[in-house]
């Protein structure tokens, strides 16, 4: 069974039907074998962030206002499965879902809020800038080799091995 299909398994759907609070559902999903299998697939790069977002788009294609969203249980499980994924797109997806206040996705958005909070507590944010101080010559027109500093350098403290 494919990782996405596992998230739509009956055992996942039953959890979503029987558990009333998002924190309890989150906790149970975090231990669910389907979620574990999905995490493994992510870790081995069998599926990536684009696959995840593509599948979410497919699921949301079935969204009908005022009718229970049929993929909500799978969406909850997906959020738990991708919570610790480092990519920016996944972060934005969880953030957006967490910010929703839609009745048809109420459980998924509340699970996403828990996942989002945990994500911000465990993953580091990144800010990066690039600054040019001097003109870096191109490889073809670079400086003479004797003008390029060499990397350094372990002190010359090796001793030769003695063969008995």
């Amino acid at each position: 069974m494919l990782p996405f299909d596992q998230l739509e398994a009956d055992s996942v759907a039953q959890l979503a039907f029987t558990v009333a609070t998002p924190s309890a559902l989150y906790g149970l999903l975090a231990q669910h074998p389907s979620v574990a299998a999905f995490k493994t697939a992510l870790g081995t790069r069998t599926i990536d962030a684009d696959d995840v977002l593509q599948r979410v788009r497919v699921w949301l294609g079935d969204f009908v206002p005022r009718i229970r969203f049929r993929h909500e249980a799978a969406l909850c499980a997906l959020v738990v499965a991708v919570e610790s994924h480092g990519s920016k797109q996944i972060g934005e997806f969880i953030e957006e879902l967490a910010s929703l206040h839609v009745a048809e996705l109420s459980m998924a958005s509340r699970v996403a809020r828990i996942a989002n909070k945990r994500r911000k507590a465990t993953l580091s944010a990144n800010t990066a800038v690039i600054v040019k101080l001097g003109n870096v010559p191109s490889r073809t027109g670079g400086p003479r080799q004797d003008q390029v500093p060499s990397r350094v350098l372990i002190p010359n403290s090796f001793t030769s091995a003695r063969v008995a």
């Binding site: 990144n126 800010t127 870096v136």
Partner: protein, 138 residues
């Protein structure tokens, strides 16, 4: 200080794994041997990890100032602004083309919101002469 600096280091390269968000630093700069002057350090990465002291700091804005002091006492100031969104926040400043005109100490000082936080010093040297010969002058 609202944020605590967990570590600050200057290296030649940095990589952040898109899957795990783990950071790797390559070739931490400790010493640069320039065969002759002027010389150029093609790339250096100043990398620091800031950690919030409490959740109330989420959403606050901060400024990291990196001061690069060259061995010839020239000084460059680079500012980076960021808003705290996570408990830990990495700030990476990639500097291209650091000119070195003489030997001495290359200093990277980092300040948060104007307050000194850390310093990374790199020795810039000319390699010792071989067989009593002086290094080639430029």
């Amino acid at each position: 200080m609202a944020l605590r600096l967990e570590y600050f280091v200057v290296a030649e390269g940095v990589a952040v794994d898109q899957l795990t968000n783990q950071v790797s630093l390559f070739n931490v700069l400790e010493e640069i041997k320039a065969p002759a002057f002027p010389a150029l350090v093609h790339k250096a990465v100043a990398h620091g990890l800031w950690v919030i002291q409490n959740d109330l700091d989420i959403g606050t804005e901060h400024q990291v100032l990196l001061i690069i002091r060259l061995p010839d006492r020239a000084e460059h100031r680079l500012t980076t602004n960021f808003t705290v969104t996570h408990r830990r926040h990495r700030v990476t400043q990639l500097i291209e083309g650091i000119p070195l005109s003489t030997e001495g100490t290359l200093e990277f000082e980092v300040l948060l919101d104007g307050q000194h936080a850390a310093r990374h010093l790199v020795d810039v040297e000319r390699p010792p002469a071989i067989d009593g010969q002086a290094p080639t002058a430029t």
